[in-house]
């Protein structure tokens, strides 16, 4: 099962885990997840995520399909929030479900590393009265590149 959702609504991790586990069925004994939260360091008071509607969902589904080809997975989930959010709130939740824990853990790391470079999202931070676009990190390219083969 591939589940992709891009939405302005807060991410309900408990509900998403239940969906991922149910899709895995009784064969899927391992679920690895990654959750990204808005960090409040450097005085950031708000983060706004812009995205490319249509292209975003397509990129995320493609990423899930790539993970499913690379590992034996019973379920792959990517939930990405867009719009304004505050420090401590969840930006992204990815889950990989498999019969084997190594596959679930590796697929989860792959999904979040590649999502950082392969999906059309842009972050804008508010600090005090002004806002600034977040620059892409070189470290993200390096992390994503380690999965290319």
């Amino acid at each position: 099962m591939i589940r992709v959702l891009v939405s302005e609504a807060p991410i309900d991790v408990g509900a998403e885990m239940a969906i991922a586990e149910a899709a895995g069925g009784t064969q899927g004994g391992a679920v690895a997840t990654f959750t990204g939260l808005v960090r409040g360091d450097d005085g950031v008071t708000e983060l706004t995520l812009e995205h490319y509607p249509g292209a975003t969902e397509r990129a995320l589904e493609e990423l899930c399909t790539k993970a499913s080809r690379r590992w034996t997975l019973s379920g792959v989930t990517i939930i990405h929030r867009v719009g304004p959010m505050r420090p401590g709130e969840r930006i992204v939740f990815v889950a990989a479900c498999s019969a084997h824990r190594a596959a679930a853990l590796d697929a989860c790391a792959f999904l979040i590393d590649r999502l950082k470079t392969d999906a059309p999202f842009w972050k804008r931070e508010r600090v005090g009265g002004s806002t600034r676009w977040v620059d892409a990190r070189h470290a993200d390219d390096t992390a994503a590149a380690k999965w290319r083969s």
Binding site: H51, A55, R58, H80, A119, P120, W122, W133, D135, A136
Partner: protein, 83 residues
């Protein structure tokens, strides 16, 4: 052809999307960026740092040297920062 812009590229161009009719000599997305840069100072400013510009052709990520080849929609934007 529909142009769409995101993040600071959108802010600098001043619109989120626009319809354009480039001349036949505009073959690749890089050609399109050059041609648009000649159309207004806002476009020129938005596209000044070519190494910080990324593109999608009909909603799929492509490099700037990709031919336009009858595309319906070309998107221009900065490097992505999701997740």
């Amino acid at each position: 052809m529909r142009m769409v812009y995101f993040a600071w590229v959108r802010e600098r161009v001043g619109v989120s999307e626009e319809d354009v009719l480039p001349p036949a000599s505009v073959a690749t997305i890089a050609d399109l960026v050059d041609w648009l840069s000649g159309q207004s100072t806002a476009h020129a400013a938005a596209f000044a740092q070519r190494d910080r510009l990324r593109a999608a052709r009909d909603q799929a990520f492509v490099s700037l040297d990709t031919p336009i080849d009858g595309a319906k929609e070309i998107a221009l934007f900065p490097p992505v920062t999701g997740g």
